[in-house]
């Protein structure tokens, strides 16, 4: 028998199971994995600088909406002056740059082309890789966002403002949570890939509601009361409107916003976990 290392001991499930890992070791392990994933994904993103610029430019919708509202008589009906409008849409642009998520698209590709299988064979949930990829892309976008904001203030110097330190911190927290929320929405819908090969169609389904109900096209204050109530019953305004209002100094219910974020994040996390557990049993490992 060729075996040297393993044949000498009995192979039983009890013998093979590792001792329990302590919480501190677990944290250290998690931190090391996070650093390694971020470093590799950041290196990958830097290979595609031109693509990142194009994606950043593709997020210019708020500026287009600003041009429409500021030139239109309807703009006055929003109850916001040109300065506040300009600040809101710049804030919406910045927030969108750091809350965008595209898990559905890559997950569908990975599942169909067999790239999901090697990920499932490692002791790390595949969604952590996607999370690292998103965070790395945000880090890559940062200089472009700063450049575009600078250009914005050069063109519209009267719109310049600096948020208070408190608002800046709250904006950071709200933007991060909005990203987590959007990421979980995408992950939850990506799990549907276990039932349908074309889950990406769902993304097109939610694209319009997100565009209009999130506050990208107009701040929620501009909505008719009934539509506003409908929007507020969805998680979408939390993705852009809430953090953008915080950043631009608009009136916003801070406690209610963070509470809603916490509820949606918890609910979606539980739903995503459930769908994953059921769905992964249906995985056919196509293309692998």
């Amino acid at each position: 028998m060729r075996n040297t290392a393993f044949s000498s001991r009995a192979v039983s499930s009890r013998a093979l199971r590792s001792p329990k890992v302590r919480p501190l070791q677990s944290l250290q392990h998690g931190w090391r994995v996070a650093r390694a994933l971020f470093a590799s994904q950041y290196a990958l993103m830097l290979e595609y600088r031109a693509e990142i610029v194009l994606w950043a430019l593709a997020g210019m919708v708020p500026f287009i909406m600003l041009a429409i509202w500021i030139e239109s008589p309807a703009g006055a009906a929003l109850g916001m002056g040109p300065t506040q409008l300009a600040r809101y849409f710049l804030a919406a642009f910045v927030v969108r740059q750091f809350t965008v998520a595209w898990v559905m698209t890559v997950f569908e590709e990975d599942a169909l082309q067999g790239r999901l299988s090697p990920m499932l064979l490692q002791p790390l949930h595949p969604f952590w890789r996607y999370l690292a990829s998103h965070v790395a892309e945000q880090a890559t976008r940062l200089p472009f966002v700063a450049l575009i904001a600078t250009l914005f203030f050069l063109v519209l110097p009267w719109a310049f403002w600096l948020p208070s330190p408190q608002r800046a911190l709250l904006t950071l927290a709200a933007t991060f949570l909005a990203f987590v929320l959007n990421f979980l929405i995408q992950c939850t819908m990506a799990c549907m890939c276990f039932w349908s090969d074309r889950v990406n169609a769902l993304e097109r389904l939610i694209y319009i509601p997100i565009l209009f109900l999130s506050g990208t096209a107009a701040p929620l204050e501009a909505f008719p009361p009934a539509l506003r109530r409908l929007a507020e019953a969805t998680p979408f305004p939390l993705l852009v409107n809430f953090p953008a209002q915080l950043l631009s100094g608009g009136e916003v219910q801070i406690a209610a916003g963070f509470t809603a974020l916490a509820i949606w994040i918890t609910g979606l996390f539980l739903l995503m976990t459930l769908l994953w557990r059921i769905g992964v049993k249906r995985y056919g490992a196509m293309g692998a």
């Binding site: 290392a5 044949s7 009890r14 090697p118």
Partner: protein, 338 residues
């Protein structure tokens, strides 16, 4: 037909498979516009049995070849044994774990290498991906450097690890993938066509690496390959699967005897001999002048050769088995396995 088995059960197999089956539900569609519309309005499904009631055991440290034509159920079986897919029926136990539960401790003990699939990041040097793997498997940095150096030496890899994966040749990529798949020193290796598409030298290198790895670390290997040289060089035992059923479990020699009840005898005679007379010794496969190929049943071989040497003007005589790939290939083409 029940599979033959040449191995006696052992108290602690590292892979234990019992009545494993997998049935896929596949949508069917008739050709043409009418078929397309029907498919859109009312989808019809058919159950396809990819693996049927397969049972075997593999001891720690064994290298086992897994043979069968395309679509026989080899890859499906490997996917079930690695926990990628759930079996429809039956049980599997690998390294003491039920694979489809995909517990972290199970995943740390196995690896699956698929010839044409990659786990490494395409645009980055392999070392970047290896750092991630080391972190994921909890291998400390000094130890991971040592293992990378060690495996790279065995695989004859050096500067290639610092070049983006897309810049490497197919052979270099395969070796790099093997390195990544083995960094965590898995006890059980599932290798699905690890030499597919490689040139002869690269195939030989991978083969020798796998043999070395098995010797050094005592790893268990279950290997599928279309290259019979991989199997003959590495695997004393083979499993043959056809249409989802296990047809043979035993040595390659036993498989050859089972598939080829006759042996081929090549004769070179001093003068041409009448065909009718030659037929009394066995089936005449070909007769070209003084060179004759006969097929003679194994149980009658000794007596037939004695007669040939005594009765015919034999200048040269050679007895051989038909190449195993030809035997398996022809049987699959004829569909005679069932």
């Amino acid at each position: 037909m029940a599979p033959s088995s040449s191995t006696s059960p052992s108290p602690s197999p590292i892979i234990r498979v019992d009545g494993l089956s997998k049935t896929y539900r596949v949508a069917t569609k008739d050709p043409g516009l009418a078929g397309t519309l029907r498919h859109f309005l009312q989808r019809r499904y058919k159950d396809v049995a990819a693996v049927r009631d397969v049972s075997f055991q593999i001891q720690p440290g064994e290298m086992v070849g897994f043979l069968g034509p395309n679509g026989a159920g080899k890859t499906t079986t490997l996917k079930m044994l690695t926990g990628l897919i759930h079996p429809s029926a039956g049980k599997a136990l690998v390294a003491g774990y039920t694979p489809h539960r995909r517990q972290a401790n199970f995943l740390r003990r196995i690896t699956l290498v698929m010839g044409q699939k990659q786990q490494l990041l395409w645009d980055l040097p392999a070392l970047d991906s290896l750092r991630v793997n080391a972190a994921v498997y909890g291998i400390d940095e000094a130890e991971s450097r040592h293992r990378i150096h060690d495996l790279a030496e065995m695989l004859d890899l050096g500067a290639e690890l610092k070049r983006p994966l897309r810049k490497l040749s197919l052979g270099q990529r395969m070796k790099t993938e093997l390195l990544a798949a083995l960094l965590h020193r898995p006890e059980v290796l599932f290798l699905d066509e690890p030499t597919l598409g490689l040139d002869v030298n690269a195939q030989a290198r991978v083969r020798s690496f796998l043999a070395d790895y098995n010797q050094r670390f005592g790893a268990t290997v279950l290997l599928t390959s279309h290259y019979m040289a991989d199997i003959t060089a590495l695997c004393p035992r083979v499993l043959l699967i056809h249409e989802g059923r296990l047809f043979h479990d035993g040595s390659l020699d036993a498989l050859t005897q089972r598939l080829a009840p006759c042996r081929e005898v090549r004769l070179e005679l001093a003068a041409p001999w009448p065909l009718e007379a030659l037929r009394t010794y066995g089936e005449v496969e070909s007769c070209e002048g003084v060179v004759v190929h006969l097929l003679i049943r194994r149980d009658a071989l000794t007596a037939a050769i004695s007669r040939l040497l005594a009765e015919l003007p034999v200048r040269d005589l050679e007895v051989r088995d038909p190449p195993i790939e030809e035997l398996i290939g022809s049987l699959f083409v004829q569909g005679t396995l069932s």
